[in-house]
Structures are given as C-alpha cells and as structure tokens.
C-alpha cells in the first residue's frame, strides 16, 4: 500500500513539475467545461440567418416574420427573387431561405406551400432548421387550420339555425296543406255526391217536328210583321214628339201584332197537334210537356242542390286555395332559407379534408445539386483529414527534431533558424500534398467529379494544410514530450472540429462563441471547399476566406519563428541547467561513496 502511495506521489510530482502537462491535466478540463458552457448556454436563441422571400410582404408574411424574430432568428428580406437568397446561402451569409406565398389564407382546396431552401451539405444545420422552423410552421398551419375549421363550424351552426327556422315554416306548410287536403276531399265528396244526370225522358219527334214547322211559319209571319214595323219606323219622318209618339204607337201596334202572331203560332201549334188525327201524337205532346215539366223540375232541384254544393265547394276551395297560397309563400321562404344555407355552405371554399388539416405544407429544396451524402460531407471530410494529418505531422516533425540527438548539432550548422521551420513546414506540406492527391484521385473515381473542380480544391487544401501545419509546429515547440505534443495536437484538432459545425451546428451555440468559431480555420477551409466543390464557385468568389487563411498561415509562421527562437534559447538554458545539476548530483554521490 505504501509503495502504491509512493508511486502515486511520484507520478503527481512528475506531472506538476512538467508545467505543460500540469497545465493540460488540470486546466484543460476546466477550459473545456468553460468553452462548452459558453458555447451551449444558448437557452432558446439560435444564430440562424433566415432569408425570406415573398411576392409581397403581406400582413400574413409579416406576422410570420415577427414570430420568427421572436425566436431570435435574424430575418433578411428578399423582395425581388428567391435566387438572390439562394446565392447568399451558397455564400454562407444566410442559412436558409423561405419562399412564402403572398397570403397564407387558404381560399380554395389548394394547400399553401412554403419552400425551404437549404444547403444539403450542412446536414446538421438542415436538421436544425427543419426542427425549429418546421415547428414554427406547424404552429402557423395549425392556426390556419383552426381558422378554417372554425369557419366551417360557424357556417354549419348558421345553417342549423336556419334549418330550424325553415323546419317551423315547413310545419306550418304541412298543417295548411293538410287543411287544404281535407277541404279538397270534402269538395270532392260533395261534388261526388251531386246527381247531374239528365232525366231519362223521351219525346215524340214527329210531334216536335210538326210543332216546329208551325212555329216556324208563325215566326216567319212575325218576322214579316217586324219588318213592316221597321219599315214603318223608317218611313215615319219623325220631327216632333207627337210624331215619335205616333210612331211608337204604330210600332207598338205592330209588335202587338207580332205578339199576337206568335201567340197565334203557339195556339196554332197546339191546335195543329190537337187536330191531329193521331191521338198518340196529341198525347205525346202533352206528355212531353208534362214530362218536360217534370224533368225541368227535377233538373231544377238537381241544379239547386248542385248550386249549393258548388257554393259550398267554392268556399272550401277558396279556403284551400288560400291555404295553398300561404303554403306556397311559406315554401318560398323555405326555399329562400335553403338557398341562403346553400350560399353559406358554398361560401366555405375549403372543403378538402387534407387542406383543412394541413393548410400549410413545407417543402425542402436543396440549393446544391442532388447528390449523395458523401458529396455533402466531402468538404468536411477533406478538411478533417488535412487538419489532423497536418497538425500531427507538424507536431511530430518538430518533436522528432527537438528530441533527436542531432538537434544539438543543428545549432552549429550554418543555417538560419527559419530554415528549419520552413523545412518542417514544407515536409508537412509535401506529405499532405501526396495525401491530397491520393484522396482527390480516389474521390474523382467515386464522386465522378472532373479534375477541373479538384484543382482549386487541392489548392485550398494545401493552404489549409499550411495553417494547420504551423499550428501543429507551434504545439510541437510548446510541449516537451512527443506524447503530450501528440495529445495536444489531437485535442486541438478535436476542439476545432467540435466547434466547426460538423458535429453540432455552429448556429446552435451561443452568439459570442459563434463569432469566435467563425474564425476557426477549419470552418473557413470547409466553407471555401464547399463553395468551390458543391456550388462550383470561382476562387475569386471566396477571396476573403482565402485571404483569411493566408493571413493565418503568415501570422502563425511569424509566431512560430518567435516561438522557435525563444524555445531554442530556453532549450539551451534548460539543457545546460539540467546537465549541471546532473553532474553535481553525480559528484555528491561519488563523494558519498568515497
């Protein structure tokens, strides 16, 4: 147990006395916690720049924009065309573009479509955008759906009320119709009960012919007398009242004559029948007349009854007619009411259940050509490989040189210190170049890309490699042992990777750290390669990023030179101190032995 404790004490001493190790071991976890804390203490804020394009920024669109702004999304409006926004995605100024219709109100059975333009190569970002904006749009869709459903329900409720009213109206119609029906039935029964058959009596036609002839003669005579009277009237030159009176008297006389003639004709007719030799005929006329009289009486009675029935029916039918007219009026009202209901229901233009349930639909539109995930990940993978290999190569080469037995001899070589730094850098670059050539060569086969696109990619990779090589070299100079140096390189690479957006979207980290990570050479390199490789951008389009990388490389080179100079001095001093101490200890041991 004691020995274990002694060994632990020794280990701790060694760790503490190696300043860099102590720094890494004790402060690295704290630093990581601090960084992570700063990075992901974002609560609900996201650093997404969202481009919004709409044909017109109506109230609906503005309301949506406001709701997005409430979530601290930065909104950039594009009023001309969505293509400008897409170009900005490619340039990395905005993270997504939303193409929103002018109005979000669904008026026919067509769903409103909101298009998300995203960069598919930023898979994490796409996921985050879908997650965050999708929920926002779902909420909006739900809101619209609720409005639509509410409209429908209101129409249905109105229709229900109207139908209730029409139902009452119809009940009235029903009652009136029933009454009219009863009246009609009664009329029908009354009329059905009427006997309108003619008396079944028969008359002697011969006698009637004789009478007709006799009457015809007398009538002709009467007509002659009438003519005479007319002629007399026409002939009289009536000039005064006396004359008129005379004429009228004369006409009266004449008409009396006519009357007498007609009476005479009747008598004659009667006589003629009486004087007929045929007694049957004589009887017939009498009986005819009697019969006729009877028939007329009977007919009179029937007609009287019929008249009464007709009067009664007429009354019934009149009331039935009135009822029917009222019913027609009520039915008109019902028809009108139903028409209104129909209008109300027809005013509800959205009837498709699918549209009502999802009035807003979202569509993801990749801004890069459809491709495999390998294509999208390719820029990050390239930079990842180059970053780690350059960092580790830089560190390893410096460590190899520093820990090499020949390091001491190099001091006496007639070379500038910068020569060693440059040679280490070019060694790294050369090895990276070979790696890049192999990787891009293989990629050309798998991704079927032309060498035309690969050359600028290779150029950018070498530039990135320069930056990471210098970083690795700096680490190499800063650390004593190869193990700690390698560990530091891997840690640095991991840190750069962690805040690059490859593992987690940068946009999800806190704004402060996000600003810092924008300076991450990994992020810059990946951004350039993405634009060149995926969007076929010209190098001139990414000159700012390229200039940043060059700036990094130059700056780091200068720092390395200073560090190398300082470390070299430090190394010499340390070397001498160590050696002196060692010899002193040896001397003491020798003395003790003596």
């Amino acid at each position: 147990m004691k020995s274990i404790w002694l060994l632990i004490k020794k280990n701790l001493r060694l760790l503490v006395r190696s300043k860099t190790s102590a720094l890494v071991i004790f402060f690295a976890p704290l630093l990581i916690m601090l960084l992570l804390g700063l990075s992901y203490d974002t609560s609900s804020s996201y650093g997404l720049n969202i481009g919004v394009y709409a044909p017109a920024f109506s109230e609906d669109v503005e309301s949506l924009i406001t709701s997005l702004q409430e979530q601290e999304f930065k909104i950039i409006k594009y009023e001309t065309t969505v293509d400008d926004c897409v170009e900005d995605i490619k340039a990395g100024y905005v993270h997504t573009c939303l193409s929103i219709p002018e109005s979000l109100q669904v008026e026919d059975n067509q769903q409103k479509e909101v298009t998300f333009y995203v960069d598919p190569s930023k898979i994490n970002l796409v996921w985050m955008i879908q997650e965050n904006l999708g929920s926002k749009f779902n909420l909006k869709s739900q809101e619209i759906s609720q409005g639509l459903t509410s409209g429908i329900l209101t129409s249905v409720a109105d229709a229900k009320t109207q139908l209730s009213e029409e139902s009452t109206e119809l009940n009235g119609v029903k009652e009136k119709s029933s009454a009219a029906s009863a009246s009609a039935l009664s009329v029908s029964q009354q009329l059905g009960a009427l006997d309108l058959n003619l008396p079944a009596s028969t008359y002697n036609p011969q006698a009637l012919t004789t009478i007709k002839s006799s009457l015809s003669l007398e009538v002709e005579n009467s007509l002659v007398e009438v003519d005479d009277a007319r002629e007399a009237v026409e002939a009289a030159n009536i000039t005064n009242d006396a004359q008129i009176l005379n004429s009228l008297n004369d006409i009266e006389t004449k008409l009396e004559k006519v009357d007498a003639l007609l009476s005479g004709a009747v008598v004659s007719a009667t006589n003629s029948t009486n004087t007929s030799s045929n007694s049957t005929a004589s009887e017939s006329l009498s009986s005819i007349l009697t019969l006729l009289e009877q028939d007329l009486t009977a007919t009179q009675n029937k007609l009287t009854a019929a008249s009464q029935a007709v009067i009664s029916s007429s009354s019934s039918l009149s009331s039935a007619s009135q009822a029917m007219q009222e019913s027609v009026g009520a039915l008109d009202n019902v028809q009108q009411g139903l028409g209104q209901i129909k209008t109300t229901l027809e005013s509800q233009k959205v009837t498709d259940a699918n549209v009502i349930s999802s009035p807003l639909i979202t569509r993801i539109e990749p801004v890069a050509p459809e491709s495999t995930y390998l294509n999208y990940l390719f820029p990050a993978l390239l930079v990842l490989v180059v970053m780690f290999s350059s960092l580790l190569l830089g560190t390893t080469l410096v460590m190899m040189e520093k820990n090499s037995p020949a390091f001491f001899r190099n001091y006496f070589l007639p070379l500038r210190k910068g020569t060693f730094v440059i040679s280490t850098f070019f060694t790294t670059l050369l090895i990276t170049l070979v790696q890049v050539v192999i990787i891009l060569g293989v990629s050309m086969v798998f991704l079927k890309e032309s060498i035309f696109y690969m050359l600028p990619v290779a150029g950018v990779l070498l530039l990135s490699s320069s930056v990471f090589s210098f970083m690795g070299m700096g680490i190499g100079y800063a650390f004593k042992s190869e193990e700690t140096g390698t560990l530091a390189s891997i840690s640095t690479g991991s840190l750069l990777l962690f805040v690059s957006g490859v593992v987690l979207p940068i946009e999800s980290i806190s704004p402060l750290v996000r600003k810092i990570t924008a300076l991450n050479p990994f992020v810059i390199s990946e951004s350039i390669i993405r634009e060149v490789f995926l969007f076929n951008a010209d190098i001139s389009a990414v000159w700012v990023e390229v200039a940043s990388l060059i700036g990094y490389a130059v700056g780091l080179f200068a720092i390395i030179l200073v560090v190398e100079y300082l470390v070299h001095k430090h190394f010499i001093s340390g070397f001498m101190k160590h050696r002196h101490l060692k010899h002193r200890q040896q001397e003491k041991r020798d003395k003790n032995n003596v």
């Binding site: 090499s404 037995p405 020949a406 390091f407 001491f408 001899r409 001091y411 006496f412 070589l413 007639p414 070379l415 010499i572 001093s573 001498m576 101190k577 050696r579 002196h580 010899h583 002193r584 040896q586 001397e587 020798d590």
Partner: protein, 318 residues
C-alpha cells in the same frame, strides 16, 4: 604548431540565473593545439566548451575568435553565424540521426555546410577510411557499435573540415580499447591541421594526446598551458623503491632521511620518495646501498601523472 591564436577567452564568467558556473576564465587556444580540459563532473568543463564553441554567450568577459585575420579579434558568439563552418562540435552524447545510415548522416550534415558536392564526397571518403566505417557506410547509425557511433559522431563534426573541433567527453562510456582507438583517431585528425579542444575524465588519455591542458575546478581554470610546465609547477618527480621481504627497509629509510627529501610514503612493499633534488637523492641512495652492500629489488623514477597533478590541485581546494 605555429602558435596563431584561434580563440581567446578573456575574464569570462558564465552563470545561469544565480547559479555561477564559471568565473574569471582566461584561456587561449592556438592553431594546432590539442587542448585537454580536465575537471570533475560539474566543474564547468562543458560550459567552458560551449563558450569556446560559441554555443553559449558569456555572462561577463568576452570570447574572441581570430579566424578572420583581416577583421581582427571578434566576439565569437555574436559572429558565430559567419564562422560556423570553421567550428566542429562533438557533444558528449552522439549527435546524429540514428535512423539514417552512416553515409546519409555524413552527406546530410556535409551538404548543409553548402560545400561543393565533390568536396563533400572527398571529405566523406577520407573520414570513412580514417574512422574505419567504410564497410559500414550503409548501415543505420543506430545499428553501429558504441565505438563506431562515436567515430561517426566525430566524423559528422569533421565533415566540413573545420579549423577547430570541440569534443565533449569523446571517450565516455567506451571500453579502454575503444578509448585508445578514438584518441588515436583524434591525433590523426590533429595532424591534418585541425585544432582540438577535448574535455574528458580520462586524464591518462589526455595526457598522452594533448599538448596543452586546462584544469577546471569549482568553476575556475586553475591551470593551463603546456602539460610539462604544469607538471613542473604542480609536482616534482619522485621515485619508488620496491622492496622484497629480505630487504632492510628500516635501514633504507634511515639512509633516505639523511638525503634531501621532502617526504617518504610507506606503502608496505613500496616506499614513495619525494626528493627535493631527485638527482642528488638517487645518487646518494645508490652510493649508500653499494657501500653497505644492501639489497634493493627495484627503483622506479617517474614523473608525476596528470591524475596526480589534478589530485593535488583538487586536494588543495578542499
């Protein structure tokens, strides 16, 4: 050995922080010298070598070089970049790339001195022959034996034909045969006109190879110059009487006491006599032995070794 100054240390002190390593060092290295620097571990030998090689800058005083006669003496450290090709340095631990072959190492260091390739190849050829590494030229340095590695290290320091070669413990960790081999090789190098400055523990080897020595102790150079002069200034010659059991030891001691001697050290079968005048003492002793017919097994007159001188100096400091 024409006595032209190459490097000169004037009142040089060197300290690291508060830790003073060397103080008031005055030393001159002349062309053709083989200067041995002796001292205990931690005495400041390596620091002195590093000052001579220009690797360190003195805290006080100045280290001057006379390589460029036209310019006169110049600060060595400040002008090191101009005279690096004139200095060779072989540190205590081998300083080459173990993963390179013998030839690759020599070519690498040779080419970095920007000499014409032909000159380098000639130099390498000569060095490989001189160091007996010709047959091993394609071996990885790490696969060489200790002696070969040391020879390769020295060869690497000589590949550009420097005027002066500074060696720190060139025979450390080597067996006596290899030590001798290395020293022989260095003497050959010196004969080719290379001035050597060698720091070593192996005083006997230095005594054999060096024409000058500097004794460093507790951060001071206690003595420097030609080895005979130092020997004279620090210790006189002495002689040893080897006695057999029958010899009359007491009588011999009494005779010696009548002669001019400083002291007699009795080591049972040996009597070490430090005379005031060796000639008179030895003559008187031999005369007395002859007259009294005494028997003496052996008499060995010897000069004091570097080791003894060093012991005297260090014991004085105690």
């Amino acid at each position: 050995m024409n006595g032209l100054k190459l490097i000169e240390l004037k009142e040089v002190s060197k300290s690291f922080g508060n830790n003073s390593i060397l103080g008031d060092v005055n030393l001159t290295i002349e062309e053709g010298d083989i200067l041995g620097i002796i001292g205990r571990s931690g005495s400041g030998k390596t620091t002195l070598l590093n000052l001579v090689a220009g690797f360190l800058e003195p805290s006080e005083g100045e280290v001057l070089h006379h390589f460029k006669a036209a310019h006169g003496p110049e600060s060595l450290h400040q002008n090191l970049h101009r005279i690096k090709d004139l200095i060779g340095y072989a540190p205590q631990h081998n300083s080459f790339y173990p993963k390179l072959t013998v030839l690759e190492n020599l070519l690498h260091f040779g080419q970095l001195y920007k000499l014409p390739k032909e000159t380098i190849l000639n130099n390498i050829k000569g060095l490989l022959e001189a160091t007996d590494l010709l047959s091993h030229q394609n071996k990885l340095a790490e696969h060489l034996s200790g002696g070969m590695q040391k020879r390769l290290d020295i060869a690497c320091s000589l590949v550009h034909k420097p005027k002066i070669l500074v060696l720190d413990e060139p025979t450390a960790d080597l067996d006596p045969m290899l030590q001798k081999e290395i020293m022989n090789f260095l003497m050959q190098v010196n004969k080719q006109g290379v001035t050597l400055v060698i720091a070593s523990h192996h005083l006997a080897l230095l005594e054999r190879a060096c024409n000058k020595i500097a004794i460093v102790h507790t951060g001071r150079v206690h003595s420097q110059g030609h080895i005979d002069e130092i020997r004279k200034s620090y210790s006189k010659d002495n002689f040893t009487l080897s006695l057999s059991p029958g010899d009359n030891k007491e009588r011999l001691i009494s005779i010696l006491k009548t002669l001019p001697i400083d002291r007699i050290i009795d080591k049972d079968h040996l009597l070490v006599v430090h005379p005031k005048n060796i000639t008179k003492t030895v003559t008187g002793l031999l005369t007395a032995i002859q007259e009294e017919n005494l028997y003496l097994h052996d008499l060995d007159i010897r000069h004091p070794s570097l080791d003894e001188i060093f012991e005297i100096i260090t014991s004085r400091e105690k």
